[in-house]
Amino acid sequence: MIATDAGQADASFRTAVLSPTLAVMSFQLGRLLSRQRLLLAGLGVLFPAAVMLAVRRTVAEGLDRDLAVTMIYALVPEAVCMLGLLVTMCPAVADELERGTWIHIAVRPGGRRALLVGTYLAAVIWTSAVAILAACLAVLVARVPQPLPLIGILAVLVVLSTLGRAALFALPAVILPKRALVASVAVALVVEYLAGFIPAVINQATVSLRLRSLLVEWMGWRQKLPVEMQLLIDPQPAWVQIAAVFGLAAVLLVVAVKILDFRQFPPSVEL
């Protein structure tokens, strides 16, 4: 490409990849600041705290710390993150088709890739922010002793959960854009909550195994776990679990990008 003025596309990594991706990310975050999405975020923040408050009130002698942590883990890095990503990542392509903006993006160099990766980053940031706030509130409401280290652990688990699962949801988003929500729920149930709990090689490729294993390790629960429960976690060190989530996310994202590169939508689909 010929440089015609300052800032012209020169096929460098910054202008060809980084700038479009960040542009999409920032544009998508702008869309997520709509009234409806903010209301949804508010519900996501309040819901785990409301559950923890209800549980705390039913237990007169106070909540057991391990039970409270397990509940907050199930509510935040699992439920809130999944729901947040269903709202933000699944419609990555379908939203553009509906708004008539897909065609504007697909005709830009690297527009398809920037759309997917930029939307992925926006989904991770938005969902992580909501989930971390939800975790903070839930921990405070549950009156868990030593809340700060726990919030730190939950924050890392939230970020890993969104990184891995947003990449997982990127596949239905590009393969079945019009049915991405249903397909993503099916993927979440089958991959994360069925295959993820099968004590076999198949659960190695799930985010839920990695998150559970990290929670058990960081909470120091390994020795306390009954033998049959130990089958549901991976005994390898934390850095392996974190690397596995990053590796899984990278592979899923590359596959999704490659699929989107070759997707064609007939004019009638766009209109």
């Binding site: 490409m1 096929a11 202008t15 700038s19 479009p20 542009a23 708004r99 527009g111 766009e270």
Partner: protein
Amino acid sequence: MLSLTHVTKVFGSVIGVNDVTVELGAGAHGLLGPNGAGKTTLLGLITGQLRPTMGQIRVFGEHPFANPRVLRRIGFCPAADLLERRATPREWVRYLVQLSGFRRDAAAERADRELDRVGLGEAMDRPLSTLSKGMRQRAKLAGAMAHDPDLLVLDEPFDGLDPVARHDLVGLVRRWAVSADTAEVPRTLIVASHLLHEVEALHAGLAVILGGRLVASGTAGEIRDMVDAMPAEIRIRCDTPRRLAELVCSTDGAEGLRFEGDDLLVVATRQPRALAERIASVAVEERLAIGEVAAGDRSLEGIFGRLVRLHRGVGS
């Protein structure tokens, strides 16, 4: 600059584009055809959103499908309305320019400049949802042109606009087409429309597409000549069209006849003036009441309509 060789695009059992072969050089070109003719599919192929099922497309010497080198040089304004609501024209155009590989500051500068050029300078900070369709159309045009493409493709750019907005945008696109002729790097403009007068106003070469097939291409004059080589039509309204048909058959020059309704006879001929005179004199001799004698429409609109009818197998 752009060549299509036996290009066919099939969607399941539907043929979008059927065996199209055409070469387009620098300058302005109009792609004409009724709704559903395959214009948008053809533009989708040219702008690298669709892959041909058969045949070959070359834009700037390369296949365009998802090819960043080609896409960087294309500006595309699709027909569909922009349903992006919250963003302002400034944010939207800057976003598109950034997707074309410009840094944020350069993209912002280009977006502002282009929005000023299309007449949206005052409204560039209003949400798109508050703008009229004509203003959104201008925003789309600005997005297509702001990165200074070498190939500008506009799909029904004037559709649904009021006459004033249409006039303004035709002027805008015409100025781009004129600047394309004088640009350092040769540039091409393709405008798809189902309205001939819009394309005529751009002084563009024409390609007519019907049922996914390219049925005619050339300048407006060349297409007129091509149609001239086919029989013209004379439409005669009278109270006894079947008797008149017998008389017309007995004279020279008539190549085809058909009846439309109870009182209209349509005669195909290569000598419309001479035959019309003969029909008039025969009608006087036979005391037939002729209500109207009209030649076929010789405007480009008429020729276009004629091509459509010929393609559908109606008429001569």
